[in-house]
């Protein structure tokens, strides 16, 4: 059921004079309550079955829009992030040498071409440069731990 169908359903219920209508399908559960029972305002609830109940604001206007749950927001934010993966098998190092500070931390601003980490394999030391500019959001691997080919290493927010 899309948002337009929900909107027309709300209008239909409001016009009908019914105080409450419940609709349940495999994927959605909707409860629409009209004004009289809750003190003159129309209240609408839309619920996506697998998620927590998300009330739609008790607005004067009878137009409902599905709010984003925290999970949805995170998923959307993650989809904007770029994952930097390991090009080789080896040992992941966050520092150029043990007595030096890490190349990047969470929150570091990076430019294209900046070195993010070193991956050592068979005495080859591989400086991994960033292909993007942005901000380090997550570091997914601990210092000095083994990494596989294509294993995600960093999440970068390019915006």
């Amino acid at each position: 059921m899309d948002i337009k169908e929900i909107q027309s359903l709300i209008k239909f219920v409001a016009k009908s004079g019914a105080t409450e209508v419940k609709l349940e399908t495999d994927e959605i559960k909707i409860t629409i309550r009209t004004g009289s029972a809750t003190g003159g305002h129309e209240t609408t609830y839309v619920q996506q079955v697998p998620m927590a109940q998300a009330p739609i604001t008790p607005a004067a206007a009878p137009v409902a829009s599905a709010p984003e749950t925290p999970a949805q927001k995170e998923a959307e934010a993650d989809s904007k992030l770029i994952t930097i993966k390991s090009p080789i098998i080896g040992t992941f190092y966050r520092k150029p040498s043990p007595d030096k500070p890490a190349f990047v931390e969470v929150g570091s601003t990076i430019a294209k071409g900046d070195v993010l980490c070193v991956i050592e394999a068979m005495k080859l030391f591989n400086d991994i440069e960033s292909e993007v500019s942005g901000k380090i959001v997550k570091i997914l691997v601990d210092d000095s731990s083994p990494v596989e080919f294509d294993q995600p290493l960093f999440m970068v927010d390019p915006s």
Partner: protein, 243 residues
């Protein structure tokens, strides 16, 4: 051809890497230092060398696109270049100890440290660091280390040696271009230290066992035949050869 000579630097690899970020350099540009204050070996270890006596050099190799999809090939390429350089000098009992130590008998005479600059899936360039013990006569607390001078009794001229080395390195890359990676890998395997000889190894758990080095895998892992003839492949940290 660009050769940059320094009296002293922290590390020729670092110097070359910094320079590469500042201006464009020719392929096979050389940085050589009389003395290196922060020479490096494996992560966190040092490479120490008396000033003016040895070759401490870094050579730049720019990569064509996708030329080195297998980074281990670089270890093979550089080891073979050093090996061939020393062979022309008739250094006795030369072998390559996996992955890239150059040995004369039981003595290590050369260390190699290669740094690749990788962006996305490809190597942009490599900084090839080579530390060759030439005229140094004393190595404190390093029983398995030697120099060309100690092995042959001769003094060697460093500049000439460096040019030979650069020539051999170019040649190694040419072998790969013209004959393919397998050709140079065959050469490398044929001169592996303790190949096909009964050897003692220690694995990551400290377990000591007997086996025979048979070669290297495509990824550069050491292939060892156990006494039951079963072949196993080992990473750097999973095995050490006792000799």
């Amino acid at each position: 051809m660009q050769i940059i000579k320094l009296n002293a630097t922290d590390s020729t690899n670092l110097y070359l890497k910094d320079l590469m970020n500042k201006r464009s350099l020719d392929d096979f540009t050389i940085v050589v230092a009389d003395s290196q204050t922060l020479g490096r070996g494996q992560m966190g270890t040092k490479w120490e060398s008396d000033p003016h006596k040895n070759l401490t050099v870094s050579i730049l190799k720019k990569m064509e696109s996708e030329q080195f999809d297998n980074p281990f090939l670089l270890n093979i390429c550089v080891s073979m270049a050093v090996f061939n350089t020393l062979k022309t000098l008739h250094i006795p009992s030369l072998k390559i100890k996996w992955p890239n130590d150059i040995m004369s008998g039981h003595f290590k005479i050369c260390g190699i440290l290669i740094e690749n600059i990788i962006s996305g899936p490809r190597i942009l360039y490599s900084i090839i660091g080579i530390g060759l013990n030439v005229n140094q006569e004393k190595f404190l607390d390093l029983p398995n280390v030697s120099s060309l001078k100690l092995l042959t009794g001769r003094n060697y001229e460093l500049d000439g040696l460096l040019l030979k080395l650069q020539r051999e390195l170019k040649n190694s890359f040419k072998v790969i271009e013209e004959k393919g990676a397998d050709a140079i890998r065959d050469q490398y395997e044929s001169v592996l230290f303790r190949k096909d000889k009964p050897s003692t190894f220690k694995d990551a758990n400290g377990q000591v066992f007997m086996g025979f080095i048979r070669g290297v895998s495509d990824q550069g892992k050491l292939v060892v035949a156990h006494e039951d003839e079963f072949l196993r492949e080992y990473n750097m940290k999973e095995i050490s050869l006792l000799y």
